[in-house]
Amino acid sequence: MDPITSYLGIACLLFVIGGIGICLRRNAIVLFMCVEMMLNAVNLAFVAFSKIHGNLDGQIAVFFVMVIAAAESAIGLAIILSVFRSVASIETTDAAELKW
């Protein structure tokens, strides 16, 4: 296998692992971490693409993803905090108010 494509394979694998994590876990923070993991998988693919194509656009994209991820984590964790305040739990099964 070509080294650069193996990066892409790893990225795919990490992405799927993150997805599986989201499907299986109930803890909101773990869910959040799985999302970060999926983002990282995509970032990895971006960097690999950057190398394949020989320019920096992919890396710039990763930079912006990081910026957004930072903002997102701040907001996401704040949301988790306030949900915890109201339902005294951070398990997603307990915060099912929005069904129907």
Binding site: I10, G19, E36, I52, A70, L77, S82
Partner: protein, 181 residues
């Protein structure tokens, strides 16, 4: 594939599995830190030096500190004992496998036959040093860069607003219009 690459990839995958698999969220968090560091290593190997450093500082540093902080704050417990159904696990794994095959197959096929010469020629052009990144960022992506600062600002304000509110209870669920006759 060099040895370093192999090791880092193995650590990355193992720690990713750890994030998903550990029952204790704290273990998951530490596992994620390891995962992020290994990814940072991979960035470095790919020549994205600036991103490797950013990864360590922003992700493994700032974000994970925040996560750990929240975990501590919430007096974390292990996930409740309710087990995940076998059917559901199987279904999830099956779906995961399909997605993995569906994405990786075509993607690997697409980039399988890139000439070695091209890659080597690209090494120089895609070397993400701080200087190279900075030049692109402050010229081509100037507007986006400035906008991202706005996003961060909003994020900060929003986080403060959300976290600050107290004594806000969700209204108790009502029966709504579901009364039968």
């Amino acid at each position: 594939m060099s040895f370093m690459e192999f090791v880092l990839a193995a650590i990355g995958i193992a720690s990713a599995l750890g994030v998903v698999g550990f029952r204790n969220p704290l273990s998951s968090a530490f596992s994620l830190i390891v995962h992020l560091l290994s990814i940072a290593g991979l960035y470095a190997l790919l020549g994205a030096h600036f991103l490797a450093v950013s990864q360590v500082v922003v992700y493994a540093g700032a974000i994970m500190v925040l996560v750990l902080f929240v975990l501590m704050l919430l007096n974390l417990k292990s996930e409740s004992g309710r087990r995940i159904g076998i059917v559901r696990s199987a279904l999830t794994l099956g779906v995961g496998l399909v997605i993995f095959l569906a994405i990786s197959g075509p993607m690997l096929a697409q980039f399988e036959n890139i000439p070695q010469a091209t890659l080597e020629h690209n090494v120089k052009a895609s070397e993400g040093t701080v200087k190279a990144i900075g030049e692109v960022l402050y010229s081509e992506y100037m507007v986006q860069f400035e906008l991202s600062s706005l996003v961060l600002l909003v994020g900060v304000v929003g986080a403060v607003m959300l976290a600050k509110r107290k004594n806000v209870q969700l209204a108790p669920r009502e029966g709504g219009m579901r009364g039968g006759n």
